[in-house]
Symmetry: C2
């Protein structure tokens, strides 16, 4: 009684599904779910619409697959926050990593932003389960640091929000940022890193008592 879902997958199947998902990430990230058409995805994947729908019966199935795959990548260096490390260093390391991710995977960031903006119709369970558990754990680490006086008395969850927003902003609001920033991308991210580092590391340093 083997699971039919486990039936072995053809070489071509794997290749094409990958191609479709990669194409769909681009398309969904820039147009949102409703703004994207199967035709666009097919075009981006260089195959016919009918063929795309041969691999994923419905548009929604493509979207879910993309989201699924992206989530698993995105699931956050937050994980690696080390309770034994130096608090400010740990948080700064995490922040820098998120900034890096925004730069290297802006599509993924925008995919999420779109999904959440539209009310998180497909990702709510993930938010309430995996993510909530992860965040709760990490917040209690941060709280411990605060209780020990190693960190300014912020509210951990809101600190996490600050880090997420400040870093993802560089992916999600790219057109605005490009309109206002004059230098090249390297300079932009160097400035971002410098500014975030200054504010976060200074901002989190506990006042001497």
């Amino acid at each position: 009684m083997s699971n039919p879902a486990l039936k072995k997958r053809t070489r071509i199947q794997v290749e094409n599904e990958d191609r479709i998902i990669a194409a769909a990430l681009d398309v969904f990230a820039t147009n949102g779910y409703r703004g994207s058409t199967v035709d666009q995805i097919a075009l981006a994947a260089s195959m016919s619409k009918a063929n795309v729908l041969y691999y994923f019966n419905r548009k929604q199935a493509i979207y879910t697959a993309v989201l699924q795959r992206t989530v698993s990548v995105w699931l956050d260096p937050l994980d690696q926050l080390d309770p034994a490390g130096d608090p400010i260093e740990e948080i700064w390391r995490y922040t820098r990593e998120k900034l890096q991710m925004s730069r290297e995977a802006p599509h993924a960031s925008r995919l999420f932003a779109n999904e959440i903006l539209q009310g998180a119709p497909s990702i709510t369970p993930f938010l309430h389960n995996e993510l909530k558990t992860l965040v709760r754990n990490k917040c209690s680490i941060i709280q411990t640091w605060i209780d020990r006086g190693q960190l300014a008395p912020v509210v951990p969850l809101n600190l996490v929000f600050l880090i997420w927003s400040a870093t993802q902003h560089y992916a999600d609001f790219e057109p605005q940022i490009n309109a206002l920033h004059d230098g090249d991308e390297d300079a932009l991210f160097a400035d971002a890193e410098r500014t975030l580092k200054m504010i976060i590391t200074n901002g989190l340093r506990p006042s001497v008592s």
Copy 2:
């Protein structure tokens, strides 16, 4: 030779256009441009689709009107940054005001977020003109403060990005925030304010030299 655009507008005209724009703000903010239908807007405004299109010939015209009107409200307490005031207080006041706006006008925030995420198709001129000028001016005020040693040496533009992102996040990512936060809205924003205040005011304090 009176401008035909100035032809006086009926009471009903004004009322209905307002109703449509208010309804459209809701609809566009939660569904994005392509995700919204004229029918939805009509329903939200309690009139027929044909009537909506009697006042705004095209869907795009409704969108532009909404964006226009919202921009003019949004155009930012950044304006009021007082070069003569205490730098950290000024910046904190601005931050708090933005946070307040996110709470009170989340639809406006989401409308912009959607527009920028989709590549800012309708708002690019505004970004490059009014907004760029405003931001450039205010950044030079901040730079002056830094040069005088009243503020930690951050990059002004990136500080602005930090403030925008950290505050708008509470409107734009509401479903995620609700999933992760347990208390009520009052508590959430109180925590947000406390955390932002701590990090921004501490983070911007220049180190004694």
